[in-house]
Amino acid sequence: MNRNWPLWEVFVRAKNGLSHRHVGSVHAADARMAIEAARDVYTRRMEGVSLWVVPSNAITASDPKEHADLFEPAEDKVYRHPTFYAIPDNVKNI
């Protein structure tokens, strides 16, 4: 028998109030082992208060070839940004 342990992506919440952030990966045979490995590998210096592990093969990534289709349409929607609107200096609290 020769079955390699799958790869898991590790996400750490540095402190409450922040989102989980991708920090790296570990190999583990099961989810609990992945959590423990993530704890032992990525939080040795008090880097986190919560962990997520996700099997790497469960992640679907966008294709860089579609970068233009996916992300460029947002470029001309400047009206979504507050700085698009000119408000006179004497108007406050807006």
Partner: protein
């Protein structure tokens, strides 16, 4: 504080358990089955060495003869070590190492859970911090027992052999020592026989999940608490204490 030989002796038992097991686990560093396991075993060893430093330092204060943690760790011979026989057993293969961890950490967690309410503030403080560490060690070992017991034929056979090796040393963990009676009565030390029901419950539950049998009752091998150790401890000490012995008085 006033010198208290019994209290010092008790602190040595607690410290030596952690020290000797930490030393054993550190032997794995760089040789584990997977890098992830290497990091995990080192973390456990680091926790244990930290605990040992605290307990041995306190033993020095209780003894009142100016000895520090290092002089206890590096300049005592086997007869003066107070650890249980279980922790000094050789690592063997990974199954044997996990069997030792499983039997010991489940006991140590229950012990520290009580010790954190000790009438002695220092012991209580050390235990309060350590109990969280040890809960993780027990958790880690329990899961590995299940994986190995209910893994392959080979892992099952190795785990049974590992448990078989370690089992005879577990009786010592629950042995009431008359010498500690004053400390137990004063609410300073934990009355270890009281830990047995919870421990057996934990052990049996994990073994059932691992589809393993509880090893047969047998005559216990004991003596660690009075300095009568297995042959393994002398070798462990000769390695650990080499520099301090070869260069007496040097600072490192």
């Amino acid at each position: 504080m006033l010198p208290d030989a019994t209290l010092a002796d008790y602190a040595l038992r607690l410290g030596d358990d952690s020290l000797v097991l930490g030393q054993r686990l550190s032997e794995w560093c760089g040789h584990a089955p997977m890098l992830e396991i290497d990091l995990a075993l080192s973390n456990i060893a680091l926790d244990l060495i930290g605990q040992a430093s605290h307990f041995l330092k306190f033993a020095g204060r209780a003894e009142g003869r100016g000895r520090d943690a290092d002089s206890f760790a590096f300049r005592r011979d086997a007869l003066d070590f107070r650890n249980c026989l279980l922790v000094e057993q050789p690592n063997g293969d990974f199954a044997q190492t996990m069997a030792r961890q499983f039997l010991f950490s489940n006991w140590q967690e229950l012990l520290f859970a009580q010790l954190q309410h000790s009438a002695n503030d220092t012991l209580a403080d050390i235990a309060r911090k350590a109990v969280k560490e040890v809960a993780y060690h027990a958790h880690f070992a329990n899961e590995w027992m299940v994986r190995l017991g209910d893994g392959t034929e080979e892992s099952r056979a190795r785990t049974i052999a590992g448990l078989e090796w370690m089992w005879r040393f577990t009786g010592e963990l629950f042995e009431r020592d008359p010498a500690l009676k004053p400390l137990v009565d004063a609410g300073v030390a934990v009355d270890v026989p009281s830990l047995r029901p919870d421990w057996e419950d934990r052990i049996s539950r994990t073994l059932a999940e691992a589809r393993l049998e509880l090893p047969k009752p047998r005559r216990w091998v004991m003596g660690g608490r009075v300095g009568h150790h297995s042959e393994h401890l002398g070798h462990l000490l000769s390695e650990m204490q080499f520099l301090q012995r070869a260069y007496p008085g040097a600072m490192w």
